[in-house]
Structures are given as C-alpha cells and as structure tokens.
C-alpha cells in the first residue's frame, strides 16, 4: 500500500471538520466543537507527517506524486482535473500549514472560549485550512484559483468575525476589495495562459513555456506581470499592502494563522511555483525584487512608528514577505521558501504571544499602556523574546538569522543581485531590529502600568503552542547552514528537484563571512540603540520624536506612508463624487420607465385574473387558436 494514496486525506479532514461544524455547530457543546476543530487539523497534520516521512525515505521516481481525484469539467478538451500534486515545494507548504494551523487551533480553543461565535470560528478556520491546502496541492491553476478565492473568503469572514462592530466589517470589506484587485489581474493572467497553452495544468505550462517563449518574450512578461498582480494583492506587497494592517481587526489567532503564517505567503508560493515564467522574463523578476525591497523598507519604517502591538506585527509581516519577494526576485527560490517556513514559525509565535499579552491586558492593544510584563508572564516573555530574536535575526542562535542572512547574501551575490538590492535589504534588517526590540522593551520592561486581569499562562492549551513554536524559531534554521560554515544544506537539496539552485556570481564565496559579521554587528548595534532609547533613557525616544524631522516623519510613518489617504484621494473620492453628481442619471429613467410600464401592464392584466376557471380556459383556447392560425396562415 502506497502511503501517497492517502494524500487526499490532507484536505479531506479539514473539509469534514468544516462540514460537521457548519451543519451541527450550533447544537454541539463547546468542548465537542473544540475537539472537532482541532482534531481534524491534527489528523491532517499527522497524515502530512506520515506522507512527508515516506517522501523523504523513498522519493517518487519522477520527484513528485500526482493524485487525480476526478475531472472537474470538460469543455472542448479543456478539462481541468481535481487533482493533487505533491512535490517538495508543496510538501514544505502543507507541512507548515497543517502544523502551524494545528497549534493555532489548539491555542484558539482556550483563546476563543466563551465567544458566542465559537462554532463559527472553528468552522471558518477549518474551511480556511481546507482552502489553503487545496491551493498548495492544486495540480492546475484553476484549482489553485479555487483555493486562492477560498482563503480570500475565509480571510474576509474572519476579519469581520466580530461583525457587530462596524469598523471590523469595514476592515473585512477593505481586505476583500483590495485583494480582489490583485485576483482580477490573476485571473486575466489565467485567461492568457489558457489562450496560449490550452491548459492550466501547472507542469504542462512550465514544461511548454520555455519552448513557446524566448527569454524576454512579451507573452511571458504579461503573464508574469498579471500573476504578480495576484501575488502582490494576496501577499500585501506594494502597492496593495494597505489591507493587511486593518485586517488585524480579526481575532488574534486569525492574524497569526491567516495574516502572518500562511495565506499572505500564498503569493510567494505562486511565484515560486511559476518560477519558470519569471526566469523567462528578467524584467519582471527585477520588478519582483524592487517591489520586495520597497515594501520591506516602507513597512519597516511604518512599523517603527506604530503603537498597536498587532499593527507592529502586521507591518513586520509585510516587511518580511518583502524579503521573500526580494529573494524570489534575485532567483534565490529556495531562500524564499526557507524564509517562508521560518517566518511562519516565529511570526505565528509572535502573534500568539501578542494574543496572550492582549488577553492579559483586557483587550488593550497600545504597547505604551503595557510594560513590565517580564516577571508576571515568564513563559510568554521568553517565547516572545525567542520569536523577536528570530525576527531580528540575532546571529547564530536564532532561525531567522539563517534564512534572512541567506537572502541578503543572495541579494548581493546572485547573478541577478546588485548592491542596491542588498543595501535596501540591509537597512531593512536594521530597522527590523529597531522596531522588534522597541516592541519587546516597551511591552515587557519598564514599570507595570496595568494589572493582569486574566492570566493566560494558566491556559495550557495556549502555552503549549507558544513553547513549541518558540523552540522551532530557535532551532528551525539549522537545516540550512551557510556555505561559508559547512556544506550542510539539506533544505535546498530537498527542494532542488522542483526549484533551481541560486546562480551565484563568480568569486563571491568569500564575501559571505564578512557579510555575516556585518550583520551581526548591525544587530547588536540595533539592540543596543533600542535598549538605550526605550529602557535606559526613555526620554531619548521622546526627544527624537520632538525634532523637526521626527514631527514630520512620525505621523507619516504612523499612517503607513499615507497610502490609504493617497488611494482615498486618487480613487475613492473621485468615484464617490461621480456617483453623487450622477445620482439621477438618464439610465435610471429608462429602468424606472420599465418599472412604470410593468406596473401599468400589471394593472391591465390583473383584471384578467378574475378567479373564474372557465375564463382562464377560454383564454387558453383563444391562445391556441391564435397560434394555430399563425402556423396555418402566416
């Protein structure tokens, strides 16, 4: 019996959980709901682990495994299948998705306890996991698109989970509409692909594309541009990044799962999956890298000015995905996937830790109203510190160092890399250190400003995920060591069969160690500065804010470089204005005319509805007579 045949169980368990909860959720006790929601994901994770171990021991002959469940539809030979496709890339993704989801579900069982939408929450979360797994395992782009829209829907539903508050509904709509812009581009790209290849099967497209298109061909350019549009929307990159900070309106586990660990990295997955197209269009690849650098800088500066704990993390997420885009843009495919995995661990951890803090602070989000939590919440503090260290890429001891360092090195050393890209990434890394430790110091050091009402450390279900993810944030990086240290790179080796290795410039090997040293110094300096500004001399930060530059830039950064205001002025206001002046346009009169006509006709004809059966029959006979006359004499 081949273990791979059970691949369909990975999406099937979350789907079954969703169906159960959606149909019976209101009738079940909370404990049963928690069990169903968590166990279905846990089972999916176990199946994934089982399949993954089997995959590692005996890789399939072709390097991948394909399971066709059934044909979706068949129109003129265009027949997308409901088929699952497992290769190292998708294996890494489903591994991360199922395990992180499992821990977040476990966390949620305690975090969401007592909420009236308890069954709804778990139903949506299970549906999300199902959609995400479908997206990742999809064999063709249409099925991928189904999962893509599915996760978008779940994101919308969960951002607006507490729908009674109008602001949450607004945030949900904003996320939905902004990502929809990218999705529209994405599906137009799919149309182009169908027109070109008459199929949406990913492997067919990837194998045919180099034969159809030369390097730099216009077709490859447009398709990759449109797919990039989809990826940018979903992954909250420039210029569609504005939805993610607002998406923090949802419950914190949702932010951890959807808006940090999994869904927002779908764009990375899409580009990595379609890497052949980007290789065929160097311009587009450069655009990807530039978008990555710009995003990571913009988001980093924005994070520096935020006061809301979750918004800091949201901007940090945008910034970290910017790193992944940078890696994709310079052709360091495996580095991007590696950073995705590590990022999923530590960012989920940070969000969960933030959730615990917010729970302890009774829904207080402002970090300047917290403080001194180090002693009161030791587990949360230490795990949060581990996650922050990974985010700041503290050298050697954290996983984030290995992944981010690889990206920075590739940005400089890859054939597509350049000094400018590296410099952007480097500055971004420095800012990351600053805002990360600002967050840590302000939240956990200093004097305590608020009493802990409900201590989350008593909830085992919340602490276990924190500890597991904390450990993973520390040791997760050891599966891919820098070349300069040792030739121990099982991760990129594992991904080699589906993602090409990074092309390095000649004679750059020796730079790596120097770069690492530079990074290490930078990190230590950054931590010191933050310590100086927020622990040693808190007045320093205040003084900095009061300078002319600070007064100009602080609100600017706080509002995320005014992108919302920009879009509002450029797009929303004109549309609102147009619709206002055109409220009674002439087209309306046509439709109103139709309405009036209908009412008039109704008045005339309702007289014929007089209740007399024989009259109706007479009308029928009259009609038949007319029809026969027409047939016979016309």
């Amino acid at each position: 019996m081949d273990v791979m045949h059970f691949l369909w169980l990975v999406p099937a368990f979350p789907l079954a959980g969703f169906l159960l909860l959606a149909l019976l959720g209101l009738r079940l006790p909370a404990r049963a709901i928690a069990w169903i929601g968590t166990v279905s994901i846990g089972l999916a994770a176990l199946v994934t682990l089982w399949i993954g171990l089997d995959f590692l021991q005996q890789p399939p002959a072709a390097g991948h495994y394909r399971q066709v469940l059934w044909t979706w539809f068949n129109i003129n030979g265009f027949a997308p299948a409901i088929a699952l496709y497992l290769d190292p890339l998708s294996l890494v993704y489903i591994f991360v998705i199922t395990f992180v989801s499992f821990f977040i579900h476990l966390y949620s069982t305690a975090f969401m306890r007592g909420d009236e939408g308890y069954p709804r929450f778990f139903a949506y979360m299970n549906l999300f996991v199902f959609s995400m797994v479908t997206l990742v395992l999809a064999d063709n782009l249409l099925l991928l698109y189904l999962g893509w829209e599915g996760v978008g829907l779940c994101s919308f539903l969960l951002i607006g989970f507490w729908y009674r508050d109008e602001a949450n509904g607004y945030a949900a709509r904003k996320a939905f509409i902004v990502t929809r812009i990218g999705d529209t581009a994405f599906i137009i790209g799919l149309f182009l692909l169908v027109k070109q290849f008459h199929t949406l099967d990913i492997q067919d497209i990837l194998s045919q594309a180099p034969q159809v298109w030369a390097i730099g061909a216009a077709g490859a350019f447009w398709v990759s541009l449109l797919l990039l549009g989809g990826a940018v929307g979903k992954s909250a990159q420039l210029p569609l990044q504005t939805w993610l900070p607002d998406a923090m309106a949802g419950p914190t586990p949702v932010s951890a799962l959807i808006h940090a660990a999994t869904m927002v990295t779908a764009g990375v997955y899409l580009i990595a999956r379609m890497h052949v197209l980007y290789s065929l269009s160097p311009t587009m690849q450069l655009v990807v890298a530039i978008i990555g650098v710009l995003t990571l800088l913009i988001a980093g500066f924005s994070a520096l000015a935020q006061r809301d704990l979750k918004r800091i993390l949201a901007y940090s997420t945008i910034s970290q995905i910017g790193y992944m885009f940078l890696a994709l843009g310079v052709g360091a495919w495996t580095a991007a996937v590696f950073h995705f995995m590590i990022h999923a661990f530590f960012k989920a951890l940070l969000f969960l830790g933030a959730g615990a803090v917010i729970m302890a602070m009774e829904e207080e989000h402002d970090i300047f109203k917290m403080g001194g939590l180090r002693k009161k919440m030791p587990i949360t503090f230490w795990t949060f510190l581990a996650g922050s260290a990974a985010l700041a890429a503290v050298p050697i001891i954290t996983a984030g160092f290995y992944s981010k360092d690889l990206i920075l090195f590739d940005a400089l050393a890859s054939t597509q890399g350049s000094t400018w890209l590296w410099l952007g990434g480097f500055i971004g890394a420095f800012i990351t250190v600053l805002y990360t430790f600002r967050m840590v110091f302000v939240t956990f050091y200093g004097e305590q400003k608020k009493v802990i009402a409900h201590d989350p450390e008593r909830e085992t279900a919340m602490m276990i995920p924190l500890m597991v993810l904390g450990v993973l944030s520390i040791i997760g990086g050891w599966i891919e060591l820098p070349h300069a240290w040792a030739h121990f790179t099982p991760f990129s080796h594992f991904l080699e069969s589906c993602l090409p290795a990074t092309q390095l410039k000649a004679g750059v090997e020796s730079w790596e160690l120097w770069l690492q040293l530079l990074t290490a110094i930078m990190v230590i300096v950054g931590i010191y500065w933050s310590w100086l500004a927020y622990v040693k001399r808190p007045a320093l930060a205040y003084q900095l804010k009061q300078t002319a530059w600070g007064r100009a830039l602080y609100p600017f950064f706080y509002k995320g470089w005014m992108f919302d205001q920009l879009y509002d002025t450029l797009l929303v206001k004109p549309v609102v204005w147009l619709s206002r002046i055109d409220r009674h346009d002439f087209i309306d009169y046509i439709y109103e005319g139709f309405g009036q006509l209908n009412i008039g006709i109704n008045k005339v004809f309702s007289r014929t509805q007089n209740g007399y059966l024989r009259w109706y029959l007479l009308c029928v006979v009259g009609g038949v007579l007319i029809i026969f006359s027409l047939i016979l004499f016309v």
Partner: protein
C-alpha cells in the same frame, strides 16, 4: 386490418378532443369539467394509438399506458378535491370558487 385514411382517424380524435374542450368550457359543474378533461385525455391517447398503428410501433401504446396512469392519479386527487370543495362550500359550481382572483380589480 382496416384501410381508413389516417386523416379520418385523426379527425375522429380531434372531434372527441374538441367535444371534451367544449365540455370543459361550458359546464359549471366541476364533476362535468373533470369528465370532459378525461374525454380530452382519452382523445389524446387515441392519437397516440393512431400514430403507433400507422408506423407499426409499440411506442404509441406505451405512451397511452402512461396516460392511463396519469388519468388514474389525476382523477383520484381531483375527485378528492371535489368532495372536499363540496364539503366546504356545499356546491359544485366552479364559478363559486373564485377566491384566487386579484383583489385590486
């Protein structure tokens, strides 16, 4: 068998059908209306038989069997309705059953 022209046979069917139609239209008694509907159904069946005989195929007869089944079910329900209507309104006059009219006119 017989050598009556097909259009004469069809004429018979249409006469029967039209008599039934007249019956539905001119009778006010619900029972008579139902009877007339049966006449019409029967005439339709006759057309099927004529067609089946003309092309010497059994399909026509199969259709008439369906018509029979349908007529049986229809009459059972229809007569039950008539009984119930008579029970409620003490009349079989179809013109008294005009509650379903549009009230605005």
């Amino acid at each position: 068998m017989i050598s009556v022209p097909v259009h004469v046979q069809l004429l018979l069917a249409s006469i029967l059908f039209l008599i039934g139609l007249v019956g539905v239209l001119i009778r006010r008694n619900v029972i008579f209306m139902l009877m007339s509907v049966e006449i019409m159904l029967n005439a339709a069946g006759l057309v099927f038989i004529i067609g089946g005989a003309h092309w010497h195929q059994a399909d026509g007869q199969a259709m008439v069997i369906f018509i029979l089944a349908m007529a049986a079910a229809e009459v059972a329900v229809g007569l039950a309705l008539i009984l119930q209507v008579f029970h409620l309104h003490k009349t079989v006059d179809v013109d008294c059953l005009e509650e379903l009219k549009d009230t605005q006119s």
